[in-house]
């Protein structure tokens, strides 16, 4: 009987089989449960080890309390050595929104489990790198796991400003996007406290600095939150409209339609001042203002019945619909940039190339000649 010895590359057939089984089940990681910080970081490490051709990781900053802010990068080698474009996804900017980090993990898992059998996804991974940050607000998320009294923590864990006893900044009000103008509080005890200045918080600054170095390559910025079942487009300021507003709406509505197909859940699409409330300093707004053409906030389940305490038995359906929505937007953005026409769900004609027709007709001729079709 073989033990699971150190896995040397090119080991026995049985070892390969065990590794491929392990790949499929991700070392028994349960995606339908909420996981604390250390388990998520272990999972990231394992995903990278098990899928080296697809996944790498990077630390791009430190939280206030000095923890690594880590992303996993999903992408395949581009056969034509073309420069990759980037899709950004982050989860958990607000500590108590546990379904968000759960979704980032689900998203990675889905891609790992389907890219080898999904030609469209494989092509996207050759053209794009997906940068996924499972938890941005690591300190806050960790704090929300402490006990029942901390479960509803929202902000980061920066120390109180002079004269205050209240910790933390609302990271989604701290970005350099009309900072401090609307929908914020300057009271450090408030849950929407926007900090001492745009990017004053290391978590927000880490995102802006990292993406700032590759802005021209970033096609799409998705930031995942809960709750409310909304797809929010820029901007949070009621008097500012994005130049591609109509396109943002139609792409958002297509995503919401895909999400509804799965479990019948309604996701409302609009700007924050339309369907939620005005706000400033959000990461979504910063991304759009910086020139990233497609930028959305996803507010996942539910609509107030459990709010942030979403039961674990809803993780799977919530993630399935969120995946469909995210992929809908990513596919649109990819196809638009790379000039690809595909049949959509309404069944517009497939753009068949001359080459393909030649190949098909040749194959048909060959089959008839060799008697393959004669049964």
């Amino acid at each position: 009987m073989n033990g699971l010895d150190s896995a040397a590359p090119g080991g026995t057939d049985q070892l390969d089989e065990r590794l491929s089984v392990a790949k499929g089940v991700e070392l028994n990681y349960d995606y339908t449960k909420y996981h604390p910080v250390d388990e998520i970081y272990e999972w990231m490490k394992h995903m990278e080890e098990l899928n080296p051709e697809l996944i790498s990781s990077a630390v791009y900053g430190q939280t206030f309390e000095g923890r690594n802010i880590t992303l996993v990068k999903l992408g395949l080698k581009n056969p034509e050595i073309r420069e990759k474009q980037v899709i950004w996804m982050d989860c958990g900017i607000h500590a108590r929104e546990w379904i968000a980090p759960a979704f980032c993990q689900w998203f990675v898992k889905e891609i790992v489990q389907s890219y080898k059998t999904n030609a469209q996804l494989e092509q996207m991974l050759q053209n794009l790198d997906f940068y996924v940050t499972p938890i941005i607000n690591v300190d806050g998320y960790m704090h929300s796991w402490k006990d029942n009294s901390t479960r509803r923590w929202r902000k980061s864990r920066s120390s109180p400003p002079p004269g205050s006893t209240c910790y933390g900044v609302d990271l989604n009000r701290n970005f350099n996007a009309n900072w401090g103008t609307v929908g914020v509080s300057f009271d450090s005890c408030s849950d929407t406290y926007c900090g001492t200045g745009p990017g004053s918080e290391p978590e927000a600054k880490a995102v802006m600095d990292f993406i700032g170095k590759m802005l021209k390559k970033v096609l799409c910025f998705l930031t995942i939150h809960s709750a409310g079942q909304l797809i929010l487009l820029p901007y949070g300021h009621p008097q500012i409209k994005a130049p591609n507003y109509e396109e943002l709406v139609s792409v958002g509505e297509a995503a919401a339609a895909e999400m509804k197909k799965l479990h019948g859940m309604d996701y409302t699409v609009g700007t924050s001042p339309q369907i939620l409330y005005a706000n400033s300093g959000s990461s979504r707004d910063w991304a759009r203002l910086s020139g990233i053409p497609f930028s959305y906030t996803f507010e996942l389940r539910d609509k107030g019945e459990f709010s942030h305490l979403l039961p674990e038995d809803q993780i799977e359906p919530a993630c399935e619909e969120a995946y469909a929505g995210a992929l809908s937007i990513i596919s649109y953005v990819h196809n638009k940039h790379f000039n690809i026409t595909v049949p959509n769900s309404v069944g517009t004609p497939f753009k068949v190339t001359e080459t393909l027709l030649t190949i098909l007709s040749t194959a048909l001729c060959v089959s008839i000649t060799t008697g393959l079709l004669s049964g």
Binding site: K33, Y34, W145, N148, S149, T150, R151, R152, W153, R154, C166, D170, C189, S190, D191, T192, G228, D266, T268, G270, Q274, I275, L276, Y277, K303, G304, E305, F306, S307, H308, L309, L310, P311, E312, Q314
Partner: protein, 230 residues
């Protein structure tokens, strides 16, 4: 502020509709009857001189346990004035008269009335959203009780829901109604605040829920829950 026809998906109609929901839950809700807002079909708003702002809404609500959907016509008046006072709601829903006190409400009432020990529970649901199936009706009762407060505290810049029952204790009583002490956490989506309330309530299938005492507790993000009453 918009006047006239409202986009039903935008926040003004949605916030007013939530107020209607709080009214419905407080008046018609029970341990086995709890409503959620399913859809806002249409809305209209206008200023009413010397009174405040009136919303007229067509909405649908769903009763969670029976899965029945009901169309409702409602009016909400948010008063203007020096003193902050609660919105006034009028609503009529289709087929509400068919939703009578269920056998389950009666059975729960009898069970708690005749039990030798006083019911006591914490964290409904827990941090992972889990709740013991036997405690679900007690959480629903908490939603009904919270709905009185959420209705009372609502204005055009709030959107309340009950985040959690922190703890609940059954109190001794010599009346027909059962008596409970609830500590509830309410979430306001607009400010993102968590509000803490202590409520003493009575309930019976015949009389519904009544708020006997209410106390808003100080703001605190990391305070421990007040100890359960004896």
């Amino acid at each position: 502020m918009e006047t006239g026809e409202l986009n039903p998906n935008h926040y003004p109609a949605q916030r007013a509709a939530k107020v209607v929901l709080h009214y419905i839950n407080s008046h018609y809700g029970s341990p086995f009857k709890v409503f959620i807002l399913q859809k806002v079909h249409s809305g209209n708003t206008e200023d009413v001189a010397n009174s405040g702002r009136k919303y007229q809404l067509e909405i649908s609500v769903k009763e969670m346990l029976s899965n029945s959907t009901h169309k409702c016509t409602a009016e909400v008046l948010f008063p203007r004035g020096e003193r902050q006072s609660s919105p006034e709601v009028q609503v009529s829903c289709e087929e509400f008269e068919k939703l009578n006190t269920t056998k389950d409400d009666e059975a729960l009432y009898q069970k708690l009335k005749t039990s030798t020990s006083m019911l006591s529970a914490q964290n409904l649901p827990d941090s992972h959203g889990r709740i013991d199936p036997e405690m679900k009706p007690i959480r629903h009762l908490g939603i009904v009780a919270s709905s009185f407060i959420m209705l009372q505290e609502s204005n055009e810049n709030t959107l309340y829901s009950m985040a959690q029952v922190g703890n609940v204790t059954q109190l001794a009583t010599d009346t027909d109604e059962l008596k409970f002490d609830y500590f509830v956490l309410l979430h306001d989506m607009v400010s993102q605040d968590i509000l803490r309330w202590n409520l003493q309530i009575s309930w019976s299938p015949q009389e519904g829920v009544k708020i006997l005492q209410q106390e808003k507790l100080p703001h605190c993000h990391e305070c421990k829950m007040p100890p359960a009453s004896d």
